[in-house]
């Protein structure tokens, strides 16, 4: 039967042995991290972004690399998902974007601070995370949008087949199309039947002028972006 001194040897030996292995793997991890996280892109702007991230305890609500709290969305791939334009609008006034929904603290960031946070999240988005977060697999995400664009394409010709990037990053944060997207604003299926091109353009330019008190935020889009978006939205018959 096991004696007490044998038990002690198991404890001391096991701990020492596995600690050494752990240290060795740590050294190897540190050496590999530079490449896996693109350390050459770790600019002063990114580092300032991380400081803002830490200083305001963003992880107290969000997760980043899956770490943090579960009150607000996962942000590892937010740059890819929402794009800089949306993040800029959102960080200016977070509570305007999802009115009546879960609130983010208004931090009154200055424009350069917003740029730093975005730079940080862009850098994080490019880390090799071994495949996290994985793309949804139960309903193939391309299937529903392919159907949407296919029907749009057949109705209007091939030029409008793919939505502009701004549509998927910005609009779909709140609106859905063919079931994909947010539920904060109304679905955009058939929106072209409800708006004229002129009215749509004005709506995107200044929502309050069309419908005072609306929850739709002024996105501050450039004329070119707005025209492109309006043109595409008008194909959604």
């Amino acid at each position: 039967m096991l004696s007490k001194s044998q038990a002690r040897r198991f404890f001391v030996g096991g701990t020492a042995g596995f600690s050494l292995v752990f240290l060795w793997l740590t050294v190897d991890t540190i050496t590999q991290t530079a490449e896996r996280s693109n350390e050459q892109n770790l600019t002063a702007e990114v580092i300032r972004g991380k400081e803002i991230w830490d200083k305001n305890n963003c992880m107290g609500c969000h997760t980043l690399l899956g770490e943090g709290a579960y009150y607000a969305p996962e942000l590892t791939r937010v740059y890819e998902r929402r794009g800089a334009a949306w993040m800029q609008i959102f960080l200016k006034d977070p509570q305007a974007m999802f009115p009546g929904k879960r609130k983010m603290v208004q931090y009154h960031f200055k424009d350069d601070q917003i740029a730093e946070v975005i730079a940080f999240l862009k850098w994080v988005g490019e880390i090799d995370t071994n495949g996290f977060p994985r793309k949804p697999d139960l309903i193939a995400p391309t299937a529903s949008s392919a159907n949407a664009t296919a029907s749009v394409g057949s109705a209007t010709g091939s030029s409008a087949a793919t939505p502009p990037a701004l549509f998927t990053t910005v609009c779909q944060a709140c609106h859905s199309l063919a079931g994909t997207g947010g539920k904060v604003g109304p679905a955009l299926d058939g929106v072209a039947n409800r708006y004229t091109e002129e009215r749509m353009d004005l709506w995107l330019k200044n929502p309050q002028a069309v419908k005072p008190g609306t929850a739709m935020p002024n996105l501050g889009l450039s004329d070119k972006d707005r025209t492109e978006l309006t043109g595409w939205l008008m194909t959604l018959k």
Binding site: T33, D54, G60
Partner: protein, 454 residues
């Protein structure tokens, strides 16, 4: 109680009760925010409530460990505490640091690194505080007449916990390395050295409550803490799957995390076997209840539920969802909260001479808090699984899914109310014990002495 200086433990235990109550308040704030009632948003936004909730947990557990050490180390070393005055100073500084940190969280003053939110200047104060503590119990043990395994394991656990706090203070510009070394503190604490502390406290309680031979209990203590480290050190790998660390961590973390429940299973079997084996029928059944629930729920919460989502194939979907909250709640409750409540339940009658353990209050406190916590775990579990499927696997929008799972947070609030009732009863019982008294100083565990005579 054998030594007058052991009474200092009372101050630490009382602080535990206060901090635990506050922790629960902040838990409710978050649960209501999840349902949509974030009415305190302007004063206590979610990230403040969250940091306060988790940091209060860490501080009250540490406070409980320290109180336990001040009670146990003199008992094991067979002498008075080295310096009672130093223990008071250390307690006061701990309170000052905690209060400052909590107020700071409400003023957006923090570091924003999960679980290690307290700002850097306060980190240094924590280090000084812990050094004071280690010096005090270290000197007590050194000058003592007996070096017991339980004492040594407890001291090693506390010392390593202090040492492992340091990697969390290194500054990194890279989020990857920042996260990598943050887990050295968080993981190696809760799935490493804290288990040493927990194991030592369990073995102290088992020696006192069951009367099984010290040599046997301590032999198995070595086996258990050995298993803890053999699995737990490389088990840190389950935090390294997706943070930018190399791919081999999926294999290393996966295999060793799968072994981690073994340490907890051993712990559960150890507690149950020893309490069955014991010939001694200690009258403080409630302390034994808490001890057994610690053994069993740490296996369920930390071991089983931890294992359930640390397999990489599962974790890639569940990582960073409410599933983690499910595991976190039962793990901390089972492994650490119950052991602190067990030692308090054991020590209070010893220190005050009031044998309240046969009353209904203590018993109801035990059952309602445990059932309440199991209910909370269930609510988090259902919400978590739903979130994983709708958001991660189907690809639905985050806020839409949160609306869909909000109903489970009503369940959470109900279970939490039951839990709070239990904790309320526990605290009532704690207060009803009154203050420690010198009249109960005895050379032996008085209850044991009575029973042995019978």
């Amino acid at each position: 109680m054998k030594y007058a200086s052991q009474r200092i433990a009372y101050v630490y235990f009382a602080t535990c009760m206060l901090l635990l109550s506050l922790q629960i308040v902040y838990g409710f704030i978050m649960a209501f925010a999840h349902i949509g009632y974030d009415v305190l948003h302007d004063w206590i936004p979610f990230n403040t409530a969250r940091a306060t909730h988790t940091n209060l947990l860490v501080v009250w557990l540490l406070c409980g460990f320290m109180g336990a050490a001040y009670y146990i180390i003199p008992d094991e070393a067979e002498r008075e505490l080295y310096s009672v005055k130093l223990a008071w100073v250390q307690w006061a500084s701990l309170v000052v640091v905690s209060v400052t940190a909590v107020i700071g969280f409400h003023l957006n003053w923090w570091e924003g690194r999960k679980f290690l939110e307290i700002p850097r200047p306060l980190d240094y104060l924590v280090v000084i505080n812990v050094l004071m503590f280690l010096f005090n119990i270290g000197m007590t043990a050194l000058k003592g007449r007996r070096f017991s395994t339980t004492g040594i394991v407890l001291y090693t656990g506390l010392f390593s916990a202090a040492l492992l706090y340091l990697p969390g203070m290194i500054h990194f510009n890279s989020q990857v390395l920042d996260s990598y070394f943050r887990w050295w503190v968080v993981h190696l604490w809760v799935e490493g050295v804290w288990e040493l502390i927990m194991g030592a406290l369990l073995s102290f309680l088992l020696i006192k409550l069951t009367g099984v031979d010290r040599e046997i209990i301590e032999k198995w203590l070595y086996v258990i803490v050995g298993l803890t480290f053999v699995s737990g050190i490389l088990g840190t790998g389950h935090h390294y799957y997706w943070i930018g660390a190399p791919r081999y961590w999926l294999m290393v973390g996966g295999v060793f995390s799968a072994l981690e429940p073994l340490a907890f299973l051993a712990m559960a079997m150890y507690v149950v076997a020893m309490s069955r084996k014991g010939g001694r029928n200690h009258p403080n059944r409630i302390a034994l209840f808490w001890t057994i629930s610690c053994g069993i729920l740490s296996f369920v919460g930390a071991g089983f539920l931890g294992f359930a989502h640390t397999i990489p194939q599962v974790n890639i979907w569940t990582h960073g969802t409410l599933i983690t909250a499910m595991h976190g709640h039962l793990a901390f409750w089972g492994a650490y909260a119950t052991i602190v409540l067990a030692i308090i339940s054991y020590a209070m009658p010893q220190m005050t001479g009031r044998k309240r353990y046969s009353g209904w209050v203590a018993e109801w406190a035990f059952w309602t808090s445990n059932v309440g916590m199991l209910g909370m775990t269930g609510a988090f579990g259902v919400a978590g699984v739903t979130q994983v499927y709708l958001e991660r696997r189907v690809g639905m929008d985050f806020l839409t899914v949160q609306d869909a799972v909000a109903v489970h947070f009503i369940g959470l609030v109900l279970a939490a109310s039951l839990f709070t009732l239990g904790i309320g009863l526990y605290i009532w019982d704690f207060i009803a014990h009154g203050l420690p008294s010198l009249e109960v100083l005895e050379t032996r565990d008085q209850d044991t002495a009575v029973k042995a005579a019978v």
